[in-house]
């Protein structure tokens, strides 16, 4: 079937209102009809522009480029699933799974216990040689992803709440988000806007450095989260640091690493900051 599509159907497609069958049928039509594809792309681009103009998060997953462990674990899981599910030549995977266990030939030298013991010793030696990985508390990867997405999409837009006074700004945001933002000597507080956090609505405090560049600090109320020290990362030209404490998750983002460091230092230097945050939360 060719020709001009029903606009209602195209809108239903770009607004994600079609059921799976209708969606796949429409996508098949998109493959066959370039004009329809162009039209759908045009409306999708308009949707993206509207969402960006009013500070809504862009649709689609964020790739952090291995900025966190959890991301790595997720990717490993995906890679494993893909490898297991993928069609292999000559059905090797299936053969391996369904083949009956082969009786191992008894080794003449070491017994099973001795082999396990040797393995454990080798593993311990390897760990000591390489160095223990950081096993302390870490801020959740989703928090870092949400902070990065918010900073990338919203930091350059006009602020929703204009205030240079941290306390007044916190009061303006209502009880759940009322946490006075950090103050760093090299950064000037401009205001704040609401942003989608990893699990709930967050506040994106926006600062300006001496060169007039925006620096963002996302503060998200997170229930039942322990204290985790700042974790740094960088992707797509932005530097990030994420840390948690007192029931909040924090993500600082800026183009310059020094600006992120200034916010992290402000959080670390101000010993009473997290204690006050906890008190405000209660």
């Amino acid at each position: 079937m060719t020709g001009r599509a029903d606009p209602a159907e195209t809108f239903a497609y770009v607004d994600n209102c079609l059921d799976p069958e209708a969606r796949s049928a429409f996508e098949a039509r998109l493959q066959a009809e370039p004009e329809l594809r162009r039209e759908a792309a045009r409306w999708e681009a308009q949707n993206r522009a509207i969402r960006a103009a009013f500070g809504a998060p862009p649709r689609g997953a964020l790739d952090l480029g291995g900025a966190s462990n959890e991301n790595g674990v997720r990717r490993f899981g995906e890679a494993t699933r893909a490898a297991d599910g993928a069609a292999r030549p000559f059905g090797q995977a299936q053969k391996r799974r369904v083949s009956p266990p082969v009786a191992e030939p008894r080794s003449a030298g070491l017994g099973a216990t001795a082999r396990r013991l040797a393995g454990a010793v080798a593993l311990a030696a390897a760990v000591l040689w390489v160095g223990l990985p950081s096993l302390g508390p870490r801020p959740p990867a989703a928090l870092l992803a949400a902070g990065a997405a918010a900073a990338r999409a919203l930091a350059d837009l006009p602020v929703e709440f204009v205030a240079g006074d941290p306390a007044a700004l916190a009061q303006r945001l209502g009880p759940r988000l009322a946490l006075a933002p950090l103050t760093a000597p090299s950064l000037r507080l401009i205001g704040a806007r609401l942003a989608p956090g990893s699990q709930a609505t967050a506040t994106l405090y926006l600062y300006e450095n001496s060169r007039g560049e925006r620096v963002a600090l996302m503060v998200e109320p997170l229930d039942e989260i322990g204290r985790a020290p700042a974790r740094r990362g960088a992707t797509n030209g932005l530097s990030f640091a994420a840390w948690t404490g007192a029931g909040y998750g924090f993500v600082a983002a800026a183009r310059e690493d020094a600006d992120v460091a200034a916010l992290v230092a402000a959080a670390g230097a101000d010993d009473e900051f997290l204690a006050n945050a906890g008190a405000q939360r209660r």
Binding site: P7, A12, D15, F54, G55, T201, E224
Partner: protein
Amino acid sequence: MSSAREWSDDAGALRRFGLALVRDDRFVFDDAAGCALIDKLFRQASLTLVERRGVDRRAARVRAFGQFIRLYRRHARRLAVDEDGGWIETPPSNRGGGSAAVGVRGLPIELRETLLLVVLAGFTHREAAEALDLPLTVVVDRLARARTRLAAHMAAARDATAAWPQSSHLRIVK
């Protein structure tokens, strides 16, 4: 806890939708007035979310957004001087914020609320029809009109931007 998070997400989405809807350059010109109006309407509409918390998220969402729109319409109607009772076209905006934002602000309210409900708040067409208390066909028709107008506005803004350096550059006088 998850219901608390959902409620918080919905409240954030409602606030964002409200901010986009209310700043129309007709009744609300500056950010302070916009925030004051939003706070008032948001408090009233979010009560619906609180009351129905944990019952049915979708129904509560539709109801809260619908309530917000009705409150805003009532507010705008009080201020409107139009004798016929119809909505007046919003005058062209001279505020910044990008061509999409300006274009959406320039749409008549019935087109703007439908477009923002679907695109910004992520409602399906059916949910939007439910929130606006309109038939589905009317919602689709409004979406089509809003999108066509916005596309024309954005194209004009692009053309104006492209033409600007040639038309208004300063002549160098030696």
